[in-house]
């Protein structure tokens, strides 16, 4: 049933790109608010990507305060239509916990899976509560011998600027030829829990302005189709995508662009490029695949990993740009 809905969603996405969303933009609204990811200070909610398909994932969370802090840990499996498992935990002052996601308390099966983990402060268990005390990081160690490591992110820092567009640098340093472009969309239900679903997504790029663009290091620019990230592995709606054909997705998921930017002319010894991903809005569907109005507390977190499939790799959050009060649309460029 859900797969049928997802197929229908892809059909409606085309219509949405052509009709509905540009009309919303012309009405003067339709650009959602997507706070830039916070990975630098203590927060109340942390988002981690995990992947156990040929990989091990370890998440670490630390309570930096002098108080007890209760947390609610949720695991969303994108490969299983975003099915959720969860448990509560109490962090003592200064406590740090490191979990292999396949060995979470509760014993739920997260093997050969990918998705995300949300850790939120929880004031409803007998522990304690303190704001902005949580910091986190995760390690994804691939069986091919490389590691992705980065700080976990929070996307609910309202002192943050809006991410109007995102800058994803990529290159073939040390032979990089694979990528993991991760986009996590979730709904903040309450202070202590989130919700995610294949029916909630984040849209980047229009068919018209502003488009997804991909650059090489001699400023050859191509436009790419709009792309949506949801909590699923359905082609076109994946939580994890590749950049383009020259640096495709590590796990075989689809590419955002149909170019081969790292196969072009090389300046110096290293080839490079970057992906311009303008955030448009959140996009939501009903169970039958029809477009639906999105709830107000949707958030997005993005991670980018690149690796050489052999021994080296690295990951960090997307870098974003904010126009502040101003919005400038990028003119339409060549199609891919």
């Amino acid at each position: 049933m859900l797969q049928d809905s997802l197929s229908k969603i892809k059909y409606f996405l085309v219509l949405a790109f052509l009709l509905v969303l540009p009309m919303q933009a012309m009405a003067g609204d339709g650009f959602g608010f997507d706070p830039i990811d916070q990975t630098d200070t203590g927060v109340d909610r942390l988002i981690y990507y995990y992947d156990t398909t040929g990989r091990q994932t370890y998440v670490q969370v630390t309570n930096t305060s002098d108080s007890f802090v209760g947390i609610h840990v949720q695991v969303f499996r994108a490969d299983e239509s975003c099915a959720e498992d969860n448990f509560d935990w109490c962090l003592t002052p200064g406590d740090t916990e490191i979990w292999n996601v396949e060995e979470f308390p509760g014993g739920f099966d997260v093997s050969d899976s990918n998705g995300f983990v949300a850790i939120s402060v929880n004031d409803e268990i007998s522990c304690g509560f303190e704001n902005n005390a949580l910091i986190g990081m995760f390690r994804i160690i691939d069986d091919l011998g490389y590691e992705y490591r980065t700080n976990a992110a929070s996307s609910e820092d309202f002192t943050a600027f809006s991410a109007d567009y995102n800058v994803l640098n990529f290159n073939d340093v040390n032979g990089n030829n694979l990528s993991d472009v991760v986009g996590i969309t979730y709904l903040a239900l309450d202070i202590d829990q989130v919700f995610a679903s294949p029916l909630l997504g984040s849209l980047f790029g229009f068919i018209d302005d502003p488009q997804v663009l991909i650059f090489d290091d001699v400023e050859n620019i191509n436009s790419c189709s709009p792309t949506v990230f949801t909590c699923s592995n359905t082609p076109g709606l994946e939580i994890n995508k590749g950049i383009d054909n020259s640096i495709p997705n590590s796990q075989g998921f689809s590419q955002i662009c149909n170019t081969s930017k790292l196969d072009g002319p090389v300046i110096g010894a290293v080839d490079s490029g970057w992906l311009f991903l303008p955030f448009i809005d959140f996009i939501c569907f009903e169970g039958d695949g029809d477009l639906d109005e999105c709830p107000s507390d949707l958030f997005f977190v993005g991670f980018l990993g690149i690796n050489n499939g052999d021994g080296t790799g690295s990951m960090d959050s997307w870098i974003s740009h904010s126009f502040g009060d101003f919005q400038t649309l990028i003119p339409t460029l060549l199609s891919e």
Partner: protein, 664 residues
């Protein structure tokens, strides 16, 4: 028997408590063995760098933490920025948002190669200037580069080629490390000033010869550039408090020059204090020193108000032989007149009070035998027609206040005020005001409408009644002391930021000066591991060109394990430093094994301190750091713990032997 057993038990307990109690204190000094926490054996925990206090001016403090270990026969590693207690209001997410300057660690030490990818994600052509500092926080290389809109380029520190194709000499970088900034500048190499261009996005990859990568976003500092508007008040009536010490630009519009002037308090006898200054003129140091006098005196005869002036003059158009509208004509009138002023005519004016305020003290004629209607008046006169080109201009009395001793007469519909006097005879030069002086009055004239032109006049006059213009006893000299004339206008101006960052409050790169850093780490399954924990500190110098300079901080180092046990590791004084985390995660140079060795024994405490803790700066044996890693010696815990703890099994054995002997 029982007492021996009890003794053993007590000894064991005491040894345990003392030994491990001391162990919770510093086990060594931060920096020793090229580790932040030497002799501490924690594989899973977090490093806390606390109480960061700058000892020099500073604009940036940040830390990185990374580890490397062998997993399933592969060497894997990763790094990211340490968490902070606060960032900056204008840049709350500096590692995930582009900016006008990027900051990162770089290293070409120990077989590593650094790659920095810089993207211009904006719409302008842009110069940048890279400044590369070594571990002593000394700049050892810098170069300019230029980016077109949407341009991206990777700097390979082992073979440096700029985006423009230049080849700055990179030999000086090999075998060294430190930190670098790349700053958007107006033009490079000159004038090379930092600019407001928040479109630089950078990622860093440091490739180790053991085939692992530390990869992370650079730190991004946003430029803040804004115009700050401010307002200030001006007095449109020039020399309104006569602070210049003379009458001008007020003019003697009618009367003898002896009848008006500027005096100090001693210029009248007995002296009368100058009214306290009011209004914007009070910043002048002489604002409370002077006041003006105006007098009518038959010794210096003259006509009635406006008498003898042509019809196309201000006075002539207002001429009136009975100015204050009593039946008796007037004589010996004296008039002083202010400059022309027009409320809200200035382009930067945003408000005007539309009133004229002043202070006045009436000087009365002798009233021993009778009182006169001799008067003093202050008038707001509309003279717009005299400036707008009207062919036959006419002035208009808008609002007047008049003062005398009978209360007779009126001006602009208001009765003159009987202001009283103190019956003291005053003299200003040859003028004698034998009736006395009134108290001090503050008056307000309205309305001075916007975009109309006005003058203020102070008028004194005598009536032609017998004795009211007499210059023999009783003298009929009449006058006024006046001061603090003001029509207040508010103007707006602004501190401008023209895009060049000067370090001023409205033109700067966001500073990041946290007081705490927190770096998480973990090791999988007790693998052999190495680590790099880095601190970077610097200060900006904006003019005449932007430069990155060394800055130093002190900080207290501590470490938590995964059982929330905290250990203090002493403190440091650093500009740049790279160290391992602790004994379980030593500096990465000491990591060489790609796989864990089966059966490797867990390290044990040795009897006695393994080293004598230093009190001076340790050498950089395998570590990286600026010249100063020094702190307070906290070594007692190490010594006692190392002695007492190993004695615990001895004490237990002693007690067991005692029990066995008893059983026998």
């Amino acid at each position: 028997m029982i007492s021996k057993l009890r003794f053993s038990l007590i000894a064991v307990i005491l040894l345990v408590l003392l030994g491990f109690g001391f162990q919770n204190q510093a086990n060594g000094q931060a920096g020793e063995n090229a580790q932040f926490c030497p002799f501490v054996e924690i594989s899973d925990g977090w490093l806390k760098i606390d109480d960061i206090i700058p000892t020099t001016p500073i604009n940036f403090t940040a830390g990185l933490i990374g580890t490397v270990e062998g997993v399933n026969g592969n060497v894997v590693g990763g790094m990211d920025w340490m968490h902070v207690d606060f960032t900056h209001f204008d840049a709350p997410t500096p590692t995930n948002q582009d900016g006008a300057q990027i900051v990162t660690w770089w290293t070409q030490k120990e077989g590593r190669n650094t790659f920095v990818q810089l993207t211009n994600d904006g719409f302008d052509f842009q110069w940048v200037h890279a400044r590369i500092l070594d571990e002593n926080c000394v700049e050892i290389r810098n170069f300019c580069d230029f980016y077109t809109p949407g341009d991206t380029h990777v700097y390979d520190f082992g073979d440096l080629i700029t985006n423009e194709g230049g080849t700055p000499d990179d030999n000086v970088l090999q075998g060294k490390e430190g930190f670098l900034t790349i700053t958007a500048v107006d033009e490079c190499p000159s004038p090379d000033q930092a600019v407001d261009y928040n479109f630089l996005a950078a990622t860093v990859q440091i490739v180790d010869e053991l085939d692992y990568v530390y990869g992370y976003n650079a730190y991004h500092r946003r430029a803040v550039c804004f115009d700050e508007f401010f307002t200030f008040d001006v007095n449109l009536i020039l020399n309104g408090s006569f602070q210049d010490g003379f009458l001008g630009p007020w003019s003697l519009a009618q009367g003898n020059s002896n009848n008006a002037g500027v005096i100090q308090s001693s210029g009248i006898s007995p002296s009368i204090p100058v009214p306290p200054c009011q209004g914007p003129d009070c910043d002048d140091p002489d604002a409370d020193l002077f006041m003006a006098f105006v007098a009518s005196d038959d010794n210096f005869p003259g006509g009635s108000y406006g008498q003898g002036f042509g019809p196309n003059t201000i006075l002539g158009s207002l001429a009136d032989p009975t100015f204050i509208n009593t039946a008796v004509t007037e004589t010996n009138v004296t008039v002083i007149q202010s400059n022309f002023f027009t409320p809200l005519a200035q382009f930067d004016a945003i408000n005007n009070t539309n009133v004229v305020e002043y202070d006045l003290r009436f000087l009365a004629a002798n009233d021993l035998l009778f009182t006169c209607d001799n008067y003093a008046a202050v008038c707001l006169v509309n003279v717009t027609q005299f400036v707008d080109g009207t062919l036959l201009p006419v002035a208009q009395l808008v609002d007047c206040d008049c003062y005398n001793r009978n209360g007779n007469g009126n001006l602009t519909g208001e009765q003159c005020a009987d202001v009283g006097d103190d019956n003291v005879a005053y003299a200003i030069a040859s003028h004698e005001f034998q009736g006395g002086a009134s108290s001090l009055f503050s008056g307000v004239l309205s309305n001075a409408n916007n975009f109309q032109t006005y003058v203020v006049q102070v008028i004194t006059g005598q009536k032609t009644n017998d004795g009211c213009f007499n210059d023999t006893f009783p003298r009929a000299d009449t006058g006024a002391l006046v001061d603090n004339f003001r029509n207040i206008e508010t103007l707006e101006d602004f501190f401008e930021c023209d895009g060049i960052l000067t370090g001023a409050f409205n033109a700067f790169l966001t500073s990041f000066t946290p007081t705490q850093l927190a770096g998480q780490f973990n090791v999988i399954d007790d693998n052999e591991a190495g680590g790099d924990a880095i601190m970077i500190n610097f200060v900006d110098e904006y003019l005449p060109e932007y430069r990155t300079l060394a800055a130093f901080v002190t900080a207290e180092i501590g470490i938590f394990d995964d059982l929330e046990e905290f250990q203090s590791c002493g403190d440091v004084l650093v500009c740049f430093v790279r160290l391992g985390i602790d004994a379980n995660i030593p500096i990465s140079e000491d990591f060489s094994s790609p796989t864990p060795t089966p059966g490797t024994p867990t390290p044990t405490m040795t009897v006695g301190p393994s080293t004598t803790p230093p009190t001076t700066t340790p050498t950089n044996g395998g570590g990286g750091g600026s010249c100063a890693i020094a702190g307070n010696p906290v070594q007692l815990g190490t010594a006692f713990a190392n002695v007492l703890i190993p004695l615990v099994p001895v004490a237990i054995a002693f007690g067991v032997r005692a029990v066995r002997r008893r059983k026998k």
